[in-house]
């Protein structure tokens, strides 16, 4: 083996302290070292040209560059090797500038230290093996789970570049939570008006053909890895032809069955065939087969009592359809489809902390205690009261109490601030003022927050409401809510003041992960943070990436956030997809990964437990570990952990490191 050593004086940066002549003498006679050459400035154009020609002339098997930090020029010299038809991994850089010349006062000591470092590199480099970057085909298509603002924005952004997107939404409608609101903070913009152009763009716009929307659908299985995921998606039957239906709603009026309307948080009823809410898109009704009279006979179950025979062939909706037969499809069936895609964006949103867990608030027991979601629907013109503010008994409220920080900032509940509740509470304040001019609005809060350039103004306007009061409480446990004479009594047990008498109470609970997000995380193999939200790769640098390569996060499934932030994160996730997963490009796989020696592997799976990237799989048949080179980032933790010495780390093999240890100490 022929090893060539190049020494860079780096102008005088290195030569001031390290004498190349003496270094040359110190390494003389080391096995395999064929030559030692000193250059003035190796990274200069002349230096690079010299190296290029010299490597071609000398044809060394391995090369050592003693110069600056590899963090500065390792790539430069790797490229020079490639240019000279050598494998770029057959070299080792020695940092004799940052870690020797610049930090050692005594010249002799610096020279001796540099020689030690170089000896280590010479010993090590003979163990280097040629490594090749592999590349694999990848699918440019994208799966987006969740059609709220974040998922929609991501879908639209990706579709605009001509790429195919599959948008999976659990509900029958797209738009997420904000489409259910009347106005959004901070400037009380009409929410449906704000979202409608985007929804239309998604459904009928120029790039709509690139987006496949699967409503009433769920991802039920995922396999593969970045560039090549395969997802199984379960499509629940809608029983109405989505392509042909014109959304006239004739069928809904004739349906004889009424059930609680979950889109209005159960505050009113809907029919068994129903639109989610007025204006919900796609504008196609769905049949709730659990409620439909036909299904009770067709699919009898323990919960469903025997039904009178005359109901079994109810076809009222079908008969009422102005388009004729075939639009209502009673025989529509559940379908499981498989999709192949390169990347996934998770945008499943969040929900509210269960206010029932704080019994003193009376939620679920006192009829006029509402959560913020429910109150949004009461304010909405498409809601159960058509936007009229009324108590359950039908009277117009004279006084409304808004409780901030429910379950937030509290070690017994959720130890964080959701950041949006104060804003929508101030929005409620103004909307109440607009609707009921004289109603009192009492804010009870633990903390008030209004960061951002527009948010304070909303607070200021809420403060200026002459009927508003703001009272601070120290702990949610000090708030006692009871009903009294048909009204609601809100008492702060800490204060000596009289209890507030209200007609409605609005609770602003902490934002929490949706119920299904834990299960979804499990099947995607992503991790959760301490609060159960999808965990980001890095809280500041990479909040739109999960810890699984190729799975990105957008919106409130990652952290409580407002619509602006969710939309921005949707764009960020789309940016990652578009930058990393380029159509026609193959996926480069870095060669510095772990590798398994199957003969030695005993199948103990310790490596799998320490791998931070789930890059190690297990071959059940062979009972051996296997490394996924796409997912492995080459940290080497598994190599240090393997008790059998079956794991090795490309380029950082035990042999190479042992040799370097021997070399630097020789």
């Amino acid at each position: 083996m022929k090893i060539g050593v190049y020494f860079c004086n780096c102008g005088t940066n290195i030569s001031d302290k390290v004498d190349s002549g003496q270094v040359g003498q110190k390494i003389e006679g080391i096995e395999n070292v064929s030559y030692f050459k000193t250059l003035e400035l190796m990274c200069s154009e002349e230096g690079k040209e010299f190296l290029h020609n010299d490597l071609i002339g000398e044809k060394p098997d391995r090369v050592v560059f003693a110069a600056c930090s590899p963090r500065e020029h390792e790539n430069t010299f790797m490229r020079i090797l490639s240019g000279a038809d050598m494998n770029p991994y057959l070299m080792q850089m020695v940092n004799i500038r940052e870690q020797v010349a610049w930090v050692t006062e005594d010249k002799d000591k610096a020279t001796a230290k540099a020689a030690n470092f170089i000896k280590g590199a010479i010993k090590r480099v003979s163990f280097h093996k040629p490594l090749e970057k592999k590349s694999i085909e990848m699918s440019p298509d994208v799966l987006i789970i969740g059609a709220g603002p974040a998922g929609l924005k991501a879908a639209l952004t990706i579709a605009e570049t001509g790429r195919k997107v599959t948008l999976v939404e659990k509900r029958p409608v797209v738009g997420g939570q904000p489409v259910l609101y009347e106005d959004v903070f901070p400037n009380l913009e009409c929410a449906p008006c704000m979202l409608e152009p985007m929804l239309n763009e998604i459904l009928h716009g120029e790039h709509a053909e690139n987006i496949e929307i699967l409503t009433m659908s769920e991802v039920i299985d995922l396999s593969g890895f970045y560039g090549n995921f395969i997802a199984k998606i379960r499509k629940s039957p809608r029983f109405v032809d989505k392509e042909q239906c014109i959304g006239c709603g004739e069928c809904i009026g004739v349906c004889p069955v009424a059930v609680k309307n979950e889109f209005n948080n159960g505050l009113d009823d809907r029919k068994a065939i129903s639109l989610s809410f007025a204006g919900g898109l796609p504008n196609v009704p769905f049949i709730d087969m659990k409620a439909c009279l036909r299904a009770k006979v067709a699919a009898p179950s323990a919960e469903v009592a025997a039904t009178p025979a005359e109901n079994e062939d109810c076809r009222l909706c079908d008969q009422s359809c102005p388009l004729g037969e075939g639009i209502i499809k009673f025989d529509d069936e559940e379908e499981v489809i498989e999709k192949h895609m390169g990347a996934i964006i998770v945008a499943v949103g969040a929900s509210l902390y269960d206010a029932g867990l704080i019994p003193g608030l009376g939620y679920g027991k006192i009829p006029d205690v509402y959560t913020a979601f429910e109150f949004e629907r009461l304010l909405s013109s498409s809601g159960p009261t058509g936007g009229e503010l009324k108590t359950r008994s039908g009277s117009t409220p004279e006084s409304i109490a808004i409780i901030h920080c429910v379950g937030s900032l509290d070690s017994n509940h959720k130890e964080y601030c959701s950041g949006i509740c104060c804003q929508y509470a101030f929005k409620f304040n103004l909307m109440i003022e607009h609707k009921l001019h004289d109603a009192r609005v009492h804010h009870l809060y633990k903390e008030l927050v209004y960061p951002g350039k527009e948010e304070y103004l909303l607070y200021k306007r809420a403060k200026e409401n002459p009927n508003a009061s703001f009272t601070r409480y120290s702990s949610i446990d000090t708030i006692g809510i009871n009903s009294e004479d048909g009204r609601v009594r809100v008492k702060n047990t800490e204060s000596g003041k009289e209890a507030l008498i209200a007609d409605m109470v609005v609770l602003c609970p902490a934002m929490v992960p949706t119920k299904g997000s834990g299960k979804l995380g499990e099947l995607l193999d992503t991790t959760n943070d301490m609060f159960g939200f999808f965990e980001e790769l890095h809280g500041r640098l990479d909040s739109a990436r999960s810890k699984v390569r190729g799975i990105y996060l957008a919106g409130t499934c990652q952290s409580p956030m407002n619509i602006q932030q969710a939309i921005t994160q949707g764009m960020a996730a789309a940016g990652y997809v578009l930058a990393g997963l380029v159509e026609g490009k193959k996926l480069d796989v870095e060669p510095i990964t772990a590798a398994v020696d199957e003969d030695r592997c005993a199948g103990c799976r310790i490596c799998m437990t320490v791998c931070p990237y789930k890059a190690i799989g297990f071959d059940m048949e062979k009972q051996k570990a296997s490394v996924n080179e796409v997912l492995c980032l080459g940290c080497g933790t598994c190599v240090a952990a393997c008790p059998a010495g079956a794991m090795s780390s490309n380029h950082f093999t035990n042999d190479a490191i042992y040799a370097e240890i021997e070399g630097v100490l020789a």
Partner: protein, 189 residues
Amino acid sequence: MNEDNVNRDNVPGCCNTGLESESEPELKFKFESEFEPKIVGFLCNWCSYAGADKAGGSQKSYPPNVNVIKVMCSGRVDPQFVLKAYAAGADGVLILACHPGDCHYKEGNYRALQRHRMLLRMLNQLGIGSERCRFDYVSAGEGDRFVKILTEMVDTIRTLGPINRPGLNNIDEYSSEKRSENGYSIIGS
């Protein structure tokens, strides 16, 4: 860790306290004046190696006794590397990692910490002494901290003196090339 794999007969220093010199102050003084500690420093690529470069960039002088070996992650530092370093003549070993929560590979520094804790017990059993292996955190910006830790380590080893190593190099039988030939390891992880 399976200690049964350690053949104590072949691990010199095992029954040696290694601290005999401390009972003879004069000898110790002699060591201190002439002794130049040899230290191997395992630095992770992302934080501590960058921290060492930072110290270089700001041209802070420090003792030249530490020979740096770069690994991608402190989690790659196999306890056998540390033993190998002592066997090959090192008087001390430094393992520097990213700060908790900052690991480029998420949790490699925690693994390194766990292995270091385990190693310290073993070093005492071997008579090498746990003071000779220090684990610490240096971020990419902490050039000053790198210099401080390194200087402290050199001082510590200078005070301890060289490892009492009659025939310690026999440990080679259990590592490096021999290890792969023999097909066993002296420590599991």
